[in-house]
């Protein structure tokens, strides 16, 4: 019971962290509102190894709502893009972490997540917003997504490898699940 409560504290902390990163990201000008660097994905990427899938999804929901609040897009069409992209990316990251942990580091998982997110958003913009010309967005979107995912993945990999806080969370998680 105690470790479960601590886990929720962790979830809240990570949620707050992704809110903060959303704010940082909001400062950076973007040509298209749902184009994102994906900074707020960092907490999700880092916590793959010590949160349960359910908690990862909760964290994703917190991130989506938080981003909506920070960017002021909670009740606009952009929110739909944000939600679709975030869910697609979290699901893909969860699945790839679960099944390909041996051959993928957080770098690969992050890139897969970013591809999933961009794919979902391009799909929506193709059918809801821009029609065929949505494909014009694809190359810059995918390029930016891959580059930032690569950098964030390298950071997350280094962070999880050296952080004592992460090590403690992992230990707690293992204790709780065994």
């Amino acid at each position: 019971m105690k470790s479960a409560t601590r886990n929720y504290d962790t979830l809240a902390l990570l949620g707050a962290c992704s809110l903060f990163l959303s704010t940082l990201e909001f400062l950076i000008p973007k040509p298209i509102p749902f184009m994102r660097l994906g900074l707020a994905n960092l907490p999700i990427l880092v916590s793959l190894c010590f949160l349960s899938p359910g908690q990862i999804i909760s964290l994703t929901v917190i991130k989506i709502v938080g981003q909506g609040l920070v960017n002021g897009t909670l009740f606009s069409y952009v929110f739909l893009f944000s939600a679709a992209g975030s869910f697609a990316s979290s699901l893909v990251m969860l699945v790839s972490y679960r099944f390909f942990k041996k051959s993928l580091s957080l770098v690969g998982i992050g890139i897969l997540g970013s591809l999933a997110s961009n794919g979902a958003q391009l799909f929506i913009s193709r059918y809801l917003l821009f029609g065929e010309s949505a494909w014009l967005l694809a190359p810059p979107f995918l390029t930016l997504g891959t580059v930032t995912a690569l950098i964030l993945g390298l950071f997350a990999e280094g962070f999880t490898a050296s952080s004592r806080w992460v090590a403690r969370q992992v230990a707690l998680f293992k204790e709780g699940s065994s």
């Binding site: 040509p31 298209i32 509102p33 952009v78 390909f100 051959s103 993928l104 580091s105 770098v107 690969g108 890139i111 897969l112 591809l115 010309s133 494909w135 014009l136 694809a138 190359p139 995918l142 390029t143 891959t146 690569l150 390298l154 990999e157 280094g158 490898a161």
Partner: protein
């Protein structure tokens, strides 16, 4: 920290996806202007260099589109207002007309056209 084998595979996948989307998109924009016809269940592209008459089927009947000397106009359409006919001849890339009742969309696409006028939010 070392990248694992799978990471390189994923990176390669991402790069090939980028290339796969970039090539058709940027090659198309370099071509000469051409005519794009859209109707329910149908999208057709015509070159402007061949003069011809095209009958496009729609819910109300056939809309007749004429390509003549590199220009395009709607000659006839089975609609009430004939706005598409009265909108005259299309000369430049980016110009378009449509017969809304018959759900036919006629557009010139190609060089010199601004793909996106303005993005605002």
């Amino acid at each position: 920290m070392k990248l694992k084998k799978g990471d390189w595979a994923v990176l390669f996948l991402a790069l090939s996806l980028i290339a796969a989307t970039a090539v058709p998109v940027y090659r198309r924009s370099g071509r000469e202007a051409h005519l794009v016809l859209e109707a329910p269940g149908l999208t057709e592209v015509y070159s402007l260099s061949v003069s011809r008459e095209i009958r496009v089927p729609g819910p109300l009947g056939e809309t007749v589109v004429v390509i003549d000397n590199g220009t395009v106009r709607v000659k006839d359409s089975p609609c009430r207002d004939k706005l598409c006919v009265f909108s005259g001849t299309l000369n430049n890339a980016g110009e378009w007309t449509a017969c809304l009742p018959n759900k036919v969309f006629v557009k010139l696409v190609g060089k010199g056209e601004e793909e996106v006028d303005e993005v605002s939010y």
